[in-house]
Every structure is written in structure tokens, then in C-alpha cells.
């Protein structure tokens, strides 16, 4: 048992919950929420590795998580803008409303 393991298990649980939700929910916003959860799970494992990993570098893990947060912000903004655009055309945020994009 290494000290990072509880955090990694927590991250795994978060990832799995997010994934199940993102695949199952009909509401596009909630699918996006699931993706956010998965991103956060990745962040958590970065920080856990930074804190408890054998690597001596004091900053890389933190930096990775920091950039990841920044990108997640951008991702949320664009994703929600897409949802608004979708809503404007279909009057619905259901993922099935976007099925005409299928090839």
C-alpha cells in the first residue's frame, strides 16, 4: 500500500461515475458535466502523483493540473456555447436532438 493509493482510488471512482453519467444521461449539459468529472479525476491523480510519487521534481504535477484546469474552463465554455447553439436550432438539449449529425 503506497500513500498515493487512496487518492488514486478516489480518482478512479470519480472517473467511473463521470463516465457512466456521460454515457447514460440524455441531457447534453449533464453529459458535459460527466466529462468535467472525468477531467477532474485526471487532475486529482496528477496531484496525488505529484505529492506522493517518487519523482523529485517539485512542480510538474502541479503545473499539469493547473493547465488542465485552464483547458477545462475553455472546454466548458465552448461546450456550453455549442449546447446553446444546438438548443436554438432544435429547442431541446437532448442528445438525441443532435442525431442528424450522424453520417
Amino acid at each position: 500500500m503506497n500513500p498515493a493509493q487512496p487518492y488514486l482510488f478516489l480518482a478512479a471512482a470519480l472517473f467511473i461515475i463521470g463516465m457512466a453519467g456521460a454515457l447514460a444521461r440524455r441531457n447534453a449539459i449533464l453529459a458535459l458535466v460527466g466529462i468535467e468529472l472525468m477531467l477532474n479525476a485526471a487532475n486529482l491523480s496528477f496531484v496525488a502523483f505529484w505529492r506522493h510519487g517518487p519523482h523529485p521534481d517539485p512542480q510538474t504535477g502541479l503545473m499539469f493540473a493547473l493547465f488542465s484546469i485552464a483547458i477545462a474552463g475553455a472546454e466548458a465554455a465552448v461546450g456550453l456555447a455549442l449546447i446553446i447553439a444546438l438548443f436554438r436550432h432544435r429547442r431541446s438539449v437532448s442528445l438525441e436532438a443532435a442525431e442528424s449529425l450522424k453520417g
Binding site: 493509493q5 487512496p6 470519480l14 486529482l44 505529484w50 517539485p58 456555447a81
Partner: protein, 178 residues
Amino acid sequence: MTPWFLLFGGLVVVGALGAMALRNPVHCGLSLVVTFVGLAGTYLDLGADFLGLAQILVYVGAVAILLVFVMLLTRTGRGESPEVRPGGWWWGGLVAALVAVGLVGALASVSGWKPRSEPMTFPTVRDLGVALMTDFVLPLQLVGVVLTAAMIGAAILALPERRGGRVGRTPKGEEPEQ
């Protein structure tokens, strides 16, 4: 494992479960905030002060607000359709279970973990700033570009379309195309 870990970890899991399982989308959004707060607490517990506070500032202060705003903007008067896609829980759960088995298996079988050779040195904010401006200056610039592009893109996507197909403000008194 500290008591803080149990507290914040519990918040994270409960919040995440709520965010994915509650019926009302706004409740899901608020539950997501619980997750974010729990994660920030976990980061603080791990010694990453700056990251934990940035997590609160970005996720609670911006992303969660954006989410609930969009939820309210995209409300339709009619009754909500079923929240879960037909059969969604089945194959969503199945994929998640497979991933879970893989992840847990991988985590449980980790071996040869070397303990940290030297004591942990926690970087101060100044250290982080110096690192951002020296070693990580290229990623920082790239993130800046990405954020700018995302901001412009989001604004353009969310602006109502004009009839001529050009992007811009809708004329007064005219509803956006539906």
C-alpha cells in the same frame, strides 16, 4: 489516509453520484459544486494550496455558474423528456464497469513503489510563478492562445445568427431564428 481525506473524498463521491443521478438538472449542477469543493479540499489536504484555490475560483466561481446559467437558458416550457437515454444505464454502466475493473486491477497490482527519497518541498506561489515564466513559458503562452480562441469561439457560437448567415447582433425586436 487522514480524516480530511475521508471527509473530502466522501464529498467528492457523494457529489459526483448526485451530479450524475439526480433528476433535476439544476440539482445536478449544485451537486457538482459539492464535488468541486471536495476536490479543492483534497488538493489543500495534499498541500497544493494554489491549485485548490484555483479550483474553487475556476470551477465554482465560473464553470458551475456557467452550467446553471445554460440550464436556465435552455429550459423549455414543456415537460422534460426522460432523463436517461433508453438503455443508457445498461451500456453506460457496462462500459463504466469494464473501465472500473481495469482501473482497479491496475491500481491494486501496482508494485515496486519506491518511497520518496527526499522530504517533500512544497513550492510557494512565487516558485510556481517563476516556473510558469521560465520552464513552462511555452505552455503558458499556448494556454493563453487556446483560452482566447475558446472565448471568441464560444461568443460566436452563442451569438444569435443573422438571416444572411453572418454573425452578429440580431436586429431589435427580431427573435433569433429557431
